[in-house]
C-alpha cells in the first residue's frame, strides 16, 4: 500500500472526496488536522502575548503598564483554556482515538464538527475582545476586580464559554467512542495508553468544561447586572473557589494525556512493550481523582481556614506516588528498548525533564508553610509555564512528529526535527527557570513582568524565548515542509504494534479496509 501514495496527491482521506469537504466534514481525521491548525494558532497568539511583557522588562514600552497587563491576562487565558487543556484531546484524540481502537470514526461525528466550530468561535471571540480593548484583570478574573475593572468582558466570556462547551463535546465524544467503538477483542485493558489517558482525561474535560463555561457566563452576568452568584455582595473567595475547582484539574487532564502520548511514542520508537501497563492506568486514575479535590492549594494564603489548607496540602502531596509510578514505568520502558534516533526521542527526553520539574515544583507549592510563601510569587507562574510549554507542548510535539507519517503519509526529516527539539529544550529552561528564581525572591505571581528594571535574569529569559520560538519555527516548519517531500513514509515506519499502524498512511476515509481485531496493545 505504501508506494501508492508516492508522488502527490497525498492520498487517503486527505485527497478523497468526502461529504462536507473540509469545513463541514465529519471525518475525525480532517477535524483533527483542522484542530491542529487552530491550536497552533492559539499557541502562536499565546507566544506573542508572552513576548510583549518581556519586551517591556527589557526597556521597551516603559509607560504602557496597562498594555502589559492585558497581554499577560490574554497570554494565560488563551494558553491555558485554548491550548493546554484541549490540544492533545482535540488534535491527537480526534485523529488517533478511532484509529487506535480500530473504529471508522468517532462515535458522535456531529459533536466532532461542533466541538471544532465552538473552539474556533471561542478563539475568534477572544481575539475580538482583544481588538475591542481587552481586559486587564488577570487570568484568574477574581471578583470584585472583574466586576469593576475596565474593558469589554462579555466578548471574552462568550469566547471562554464556547471553549468550555467545546471541551465538553470533545470529552463526551471520547467517552462514548471508547465504550462503543472498540474493535472486537479490544478489551479495556488492551487499549494503548494514549487511548486510556484520553478516555480518563475526558471525564474531567466534561466536568471542567461545563463548570468553566457556566461560571464565566455567570460572572459576565454579574458584571452586567450587578447581581447574581458572583455579584458585588458575594464573598470574594467564592469565585476563586469555583475557578480553581474548574481549573486545577486542567493541569492534570492535560498532563495525563501528555504522558499517554509519551508512552505510545516510547513504545513505538523503542519497539518495546510498556512495563507496568496496569500500574500506569491506575496511577492516571489516582492523579485525576486527586486533581478534583486539591483546588484549595491555590488558595493558601487567601484566608482559607488553616485546617482546609492542611488537608489540601496532604491530598496534593499524595500525588507524588502516582507520578513516581508513571515515571518508573516510562524509564523502565525505555530501558533495553531499540530506541530510534529520532525527533520524538529528543522531545520525549524534554518531556521527562520538564514534567519532572513541574511535578517537584508541585511539592514546593503543596508544602504547608512554603506553599503559602510561594503561591503568590512567580514560582507559581513558572510551574504552570513548565506544565504548559514544557510538559504538554513537549509531549504534543513528540506525538506530532511520531504520528506525522500516519497523518500525512510523508516522512519527517529527523535531524532537522531533533535540532528543533534541542532548541526548544534549551529555550524552555532558559525562559522559565529564571522565573523560578525570581519567584523565590518574592516577585509577584502573573504580573512579575511589571517589576521595575531588567535584572540579569530577564535577559536570560529573553534569550530563552528566542530559543523557544526558533525551536518551534524549525519543528513546525519541518513538519509542514515534509508535505512537499516526494517519497512516501510507509504504513508503519516505526515498526510499532498499535492498530493505527496497521492501516495505510494516510489512512483511507473509512480508516480500515477490513475491521481489525484487537490484541495486546504493544504486540507482546
Amino acid at each position: 500500500m505504501s508506494d501508492r501514495t508516492a508522488n502527490s496527491p497525498l492520498g487517503g482521506y486527505l485527497s478523497a472526496a468526502v461529504p462536507g469537504g473540509w469545513f463541514a466534514t465529519r471525518d475525525h481525521k480532517r477535524i483533527g488536522l483542522m484542530f491542529a491548525a487552530w491550536t497552533t494558532g492559539a499557541l502562536l497568539l499565546g507566544l506573542m502575548f508572552g513576548i510583549l511583557p518581556m519586551v517591556r522588562s527589557l526597556g521597551g514600552m516603559e509607560d504602557d503598564a496597562g498594555g502589559v497587563l492585558r497581554a499577560l491576562t490574554y497570554q494565560r487565558l488563551i494558553l491555558v483554556f485554548m491550548f493546554l487543556a484541549p490540544a492533545i484531546p482535540a488534535v491527537l484524540g480526534h485523529f488517533l482515538l478511532p484509529l487506535q481502537l480500530g473504529a471508522r470514526n468517532l462515535a458522535l461525528p456531529v459533536f466532532s464538527l461542533w466541538s471544532l466550530r465552538l473552539y474556533a468561535a471561542g478563539l475568534v471571540l477572544a481575539l475580538a475582545s482583544v481588538l475591542a480593548g481587552g481586559v486587564s484583570f488577570g487570568w484568574t478574573m477574581p471578583t470584585p476586580l472583574s466586576l469593576t475593572g475596565d474593558g469589554v468582558f462579555w466578548l471574552l466570556a462568550a469566547g471562554l464559554a464556547c471553549s468550555g462547551f467545546s471541551w465538553f463535546l470533545v470529552g463526551v465524544n471520547i467517552i462514548v467512542t471508547v465504550h462503543h467503538h472498540r474493535a472486537p477483542g479490544l478489551g479495556f485493558f488492551r487499549m494503548p495508553l494514549l487511548s486510556w489517558s484520553l478516555y480518563l482525561g475526558a471525564y474531567l474535560l466534561v466536568m471542567s468544561g461545563l463548570i468553566l463555561a457556566i461560571i464565566v457566563l455567570y460572572l459576565a452576568g454579574a458584571r452586567g447586572t450587578g447581581r447574581g452568584l458572583f455579584g458585588p455582595d458575594a464573598d470574594p473567595l467564592l469565585w476563586l473557589n469555583y475557578f480553581w475547582f474548574a481549573t486545577r484539574p486542567v493541569v492534570f487532564f492535560a498532563l495525563v494525556p501528555a504522558a499517554g502520548v509519551v508512552f505510545d511514542v516510547v513504545a513505538g520508537i523503542g519497539r518495546k512493550a510498556v512495563t507496568g501497563y496496569r500500574m500506569v492506568v491506575g496511577s492516571m486514575i489516582a492523579l485525576l481523582a486527586l486533581s478534583v479535590v486539591t483546588w484549595g492549594v491555590h488558595l493558601s494564603g487567601y484566608g482559607q481556614a488553616p485546617h482546609l489548607t492542611f488537608v489540601f496540602s496532604v491530598l496534593s502531596l499524595l500525588g507524588a506516588v502516582p507520578v513516581a509510578l508513571i515515571a518508573y514505568s516510562l524509564l523502565a520502558t525505555l530501558h533495553r528498548g531499540a530506541i530510534a534516533c529520532s525527533a520524538p526521542t529528543t522531545f520525549t527526553v524534554a518531556f521527562v525533564l520538564h514534567a519532572g520539574i513541574a511535578a517537584v515544583m508541585g511539592l514546593f507549592l503543596a508544602s504547608p508553610a512554603l506553599g503559602a510563601y510561594l503561591n503568590t510569587t512567580m514560582f507559581a507562574t513558572a510551574q504552570i509555564d513548565y506544565v504548559m510549554w514544557g510538559g504538554v507542548l513537549g509531549a504534543f510535539l513528540a506525538g506530532l512528529h511520531f504520528w506525522w507519517p500516519k497523518m500525512t503519509g510523508r516522512p519527517v526529516n529527523h535531524p532537522v526535527g531533533r535540532f528543533g527539539a534541542f532548541l526548544y529544550l534549551i529555550g524552555v529552561n532558559l525562559a522559565f527557570f529564571p522565573q523560578v528564581i525570581q519567584g523565590v525572591g518574592g516577585a509577584p505571581v502573573d504580573v512579575g513582568a511589571l517589576e521595575p528594571g531588567p535584572t540579569g535574569l530577564t535577559e536570560i529569559a529573553a534569550l530563552g524565548w528566542l530559543f523557544l520560538v526558533s525551536g518551534l519555527i524549525v519543528a513546525i516548519g519541518n513538519l509542514v515542509g515534509s508535505l512537499w517531500v516526494k517519497e512516501a513514509a510507509g504504513d508503519n515506519p516505526w515498526g510499532a504494534c498499535t492498530l493505527e499502524w496497521t492501516t495505510a498512511s494516510p489512512p483511507p476515509v473509512d480508516n480500515f479496509a477490513v475491521r481489525p481485531a484487537g490484541g495486546d496493545p504493544y504486540g507482546t
Binding site: 473567595l237 494564603g301 488553616p306 507524588a320 509510578l325 518508573y328 508544602s367 508553610a369 512554603l370 506553599g371
Partner: protein
Amino acid sequence: MIGLAFMATWLPAAASRQAEGVDGPFQGLYVAAAFAVAFAAGLALAYVMLFRRRDESARGAPAGRPHPLYLGLWTLLAAGLAVYALVAGFPGFLDQTVPPYGAYPVGVTARNDGFDFTYPGGHVADTLHVAVGKPVQLTMTSEDVIHGLSVPAMRVHQAILPGRQATAWFEATLADTFDLRSNIHGGEGAALRTALVSHQPADFDEWLRRVSDIFTGRTLAEAGELLYNREGCKACHTTDGTRLVGPSFKDVYGFEFPTRDGKTVLVDDAYIKESILTPNVSVVAGYEPVMTPYEGKLGDKEIEAITAWLKTLSSKGGAAEEAEPEAEGDPAAGDGQEDK
C-alpha cells in the same frame, strides 16, 4: 542541578523569626527535588543513548514486569519526598497560623492607591514601622478589590479581601528597610508598594512618640481637625451645617443655644470642654443625650486644640482666638439647626 550552589541566594536575606520555617523546607526540598529530577531526566537521556537502535531491524527487549525492589525503593523515595514536604513545612505552618499572645497590633487597610497602617495610639502611616524582636500582628481588610500584603524578607504573604478580615504576623530580627507590596494583581493603576521599616525597640518607641504627637508641625486648629477625624466626632457632627445625630460644628462657637431643660447656653471654651467630657449634662434642644463621654480619653491640650479648630468654623470665632468670647450672641442663630 542548575544553581544548586547559588540556591541560597535566591531567597531574600531572612529578617524575621519565622523565615526559618520557610527557608528550611525550601532548601531541603530543593536539594532533594534537584537530585530527583536530575536522576530521572539523566536516566532517560542515558537510556536513549545507551539503547540506541544500532540495527534497523532491531526490536526492544521482550515485555518485562516492574522490578519489585527498584519499584519499591523508587516509590518509597517519592513518598519520602512528599512526607518531607509535609513534615518540614508543618512547624512553619503552625507558626504562620497562630500569632503569639500579646503581639503588637497594627491595623492595615488596603486600597488601590496604597496601604494605611493604623497604630494602637491612632496614628496612621503609609509605611509599616515595627520594632525588632517584638511580634507584630496585622489585622487587614481591603476597601475595594482583593489585594495582598507581602514582605519577602519576612516570608510574609497574605491576601487582603474586601469585606473580610485577614491576619498575618511576623517578628523582625533585623533593623533595616524592606520591600513591602501587594503580590496580588489589583487592576490597572493599583499602586500598593511601600516599605517596611524595622527599628531597634528604643528607636521604634521614639518614632511612634514623635509621629503620634499631633501637635508637632501643626497649628492648634489643625491638630483639632485631626482629632475630629480620628476620634470619631465626624460620625455625628458635620462641618457644613448639615444635621446628623448631633448638631453641626458650623457656627457654634460664640453662639447661644437653648438646651433641653429650657436654659440657654453660650458656646465658649468651658461649654466645649464640658460637652466633650460629660456631653449629656447640658444638651442642645432638639437632640438626644446619646454621645459617648470622652472623659479620660482626651486631655486639656487636645480639647484646647478642638476648641481652636471650632473657632475657625464659626463666624464668631474671631481671628484673635484668645479674645474674650463676645457676649450676647445673635438670637437669630439660636436653634443650631440652620442650614448653611
